[in-house]
């Protein structure tokens, strides 16, 4: 019996273990102190102090609502933590501020136009806060009495006694209330709420005081405290919804199911205008607050000239989110034109941006990051293995070194060692090529590959893919 229980526990554990670990899952914030000074290693962030400090200033501006309709550009070489900083910013903003993350290439789809995709992304990043208020009666049921008057079809009369920790009172009930009480199977000891406007009854659970009434209870039995204070309460719930969600609900051809099926298609501009005017009306009446959120566009050089001019225009609207872009390109062609521009972004848009540069990590910082990743991936690494890995990161790239962590830990596991040693790292280093060695290999054997023109130059290959 005990062994079966143990096996079940094991099973539950193994399910929780299969959480996937993302490339930036170790980031929990920007790692700043209260005066916006970056700590050296904090919340998963390492180094990049200037960029983080700049992001902290941006964060402060977003919180104060001062920056709506502006843009920030994170520019730096590959693997210098641009996406990490954006993720940290999203974490620091908290769940209440809408944060949309997209890659520049996401806008190219056959189902909707580029501008529609951008508009949707923009509207996903603007939240409105609205409040729902209802008068409810909340209490623990002391007694329910339902009597049928003599004769068939006689009107029923019912009495409900409710209590909180402070008071107790009786309610006489009509037929409708009796029906819904019977439907919900309310009995003495249940904690219920009754909506005053609609008469809807909601069972919250059973009172702790009645926990020992029966020896066996159903699995669903939930025990709650007896409510405190007054019986008739005012319940206020503040909801944060994005403009896009409201759009989807009101685009009639799809209905609200589109929210869950994911495919929303194009939304008519009339609907958006209607919603904008409704929201403006609510704001005037004090019923709604705007929360300008953040739209993060990774690989911004993948956007083309039409998108840039659209963004230029969209940033001027009064309900624009903060647009954060990240790019790893230097002076390059603007997509869709033959002109060259810094970061592949037209100068007029660049002019509206605050540009935050990120710089390559130092040796010590690389070591810290690898250490954090080892912890995140639950992998014990010996000190000399970490040193070797740091060297690999300096000579090849940080991403390659991070790839080696998991592979090396698998190798170590296979030889049943608890710790990853230097040999394991060396083994996976020989097993998996980094880009330099792969390139070298290609150059060496290029005659034996198919369709080879003998040039085999990396920059030329890049030109073709663009």
């Amino acid at each position: 019996m005990a062994s079966i229980a143990a096996a079940q526990v094991q099973e539950v554990r193994s399910i929780t273990r299969i959480e996937r670990i993302g490339a930036h899952s170790h980031i929990r914030g920007l790692g700043l102190d209260d005066s916006l000074e970056p700590r050296a290693v904090s919340q998963g962030m390492v180094g990049q102090k200037m960029a983080r400090k700049a992001a902290g200033v941006v964060l402060q501006m977003i919180r104060e609502g001062k920056i709506a309709g502006r843009a920030v550009l994170l520019a730096g070489q590959p693997g210098t933590g641009k996406t990490a900083i954006a993720m940290g910013l999203a974490q620091a903003l908290g769940p209440d501020t809408p944060f949309t993350s997209m890659a520049g290439s996401e806008i190219y789809s056959l189902e909707m136009s580029k501008t529609e995709a951008l508009t949707q992304a923009i509207r996903k990043s603007i939240g409105i806060r609205i409040k729902e208020e209802s008068e409810i009666i909340e209490g623990e049921v002391v007694e329910v009495v339902i009597e049928r008057a003599a004769g068939t079809g006689g009107a029923r009369v019912g009495r409900l006694t409710l209590k909180t920790t402070d008071m107790e009172t009786n309610y006489d009930m009509g037929t409708k209330m009796i029906d819904s009480l019977l439907k919900e199977k309310v009995q003495a000891g249940d904690v219920i709420t009754i909506d005053k406007a609609t008469g809807k009854i909601n069972k919250l659970g059973r009172s702790f005081a009645r926990a020992r009434d029966y020896d066996a209870t159903g699995q669903q039995a939930r025990f709650v405290q007896c409510p405190e204070g007054e019986l008739q309460k005012r319940k206020e719930v503040v909801h944060t919804v994005t403009l896009h969600e409201v759009d989807v609900i009101n685009s009639r051809t799809h209905g609200f199911l589109a929210l869950f099926s994911g495919d929303t298609g194009e939304i008519k501009s009339e609907i958006r205008e209607q919603i904008n005017s409704k929201v403006a009306e609510w704001r005037e009446e004090g019923k709604a607050e705007m929360i300008p959120g953040v739209l993060f566009v990774d690989e911004a050089h993948m956007l083309d000239i039409e998108c840039f001019s659209f963004l230029n225009r969209a940033l001027e609207s009064e309900t624009a989110p903060i647009v954060i872009m990240a790019t790893n390109r230097g002076i390059t062609r603007i997509r869709g034109t033959n002109y060259k521009s810094p970061h592949g972004i037209p100068l007029d848009l660049l002019d509206r941006m605050i540009i935050v540069p990120t710089s390559p990590y130092s040796h010590q910082e690389l070591k810290e990051i690898l250490n954090i990743r080892c912890e995140e991936e639950d992998c014990q690494m010996s000190a000399d293995a970490l040193t070797v890995l740091t060297r690999v990161a300096t000579e090849t790239s940080l991403r390659y070194a991070i790839q080696l962590i998991t592979t090396a830990s698998l190798v170590a596991k296979r030889r049943k060692a608890s710790e990853v040693s230097m040999e394991d790292v060396k083994k996976v280093y020989s097993l998996f090529l980094d880009e330099h060695r792969s390139e070298q290999f290609l150059k060496e054997y290029q005659d034996e590959f198919m369709f080879d023109d003998g040039a085999g130059d990396a920059p030329q290959l890049m030109e073709v893919t663009q």
């Binding site: 008071m167 019986l231 019923k287």
Partner: protein, 130 residues
Amino acid sequence: MNDQARTLKYLVSVEKLAEEILCDKQEIVMLDKRRNHNREALRALTKSSQCKCWVTIGSVIIKHDIVATKFLLEADQRQLNIDINKLRSDLRIKVNNLRDLEMQPPVPGLMLVPMSSLESDGLAKAGLFK
């Protein structure tokens, strides 16, 4: 010395406001208790077939006309409702002030005007209120 006096003054102001909030909450509970008693009494009076009833005022019991008693109770109910609503809206401002004193950010959306029942019904049906 000056610093100490200022700290003391600050603490006094925080404690005073916090005490007020607790008092108001207690007051709402007391008022709701009375509201429920009144409601029970009104219910009993409608069911009763007599034309007079006993009313306690403090420690005195008075025999009073039923219609007049009902009228009194209803007036009391109206006043109670007004008082409770007033306390609740004041409480909001006080909580905001207290958070301000304690250097905490204000509760998001605390001062919003609630949606009308028609609007919140529609939004809830559309699945926007999770």
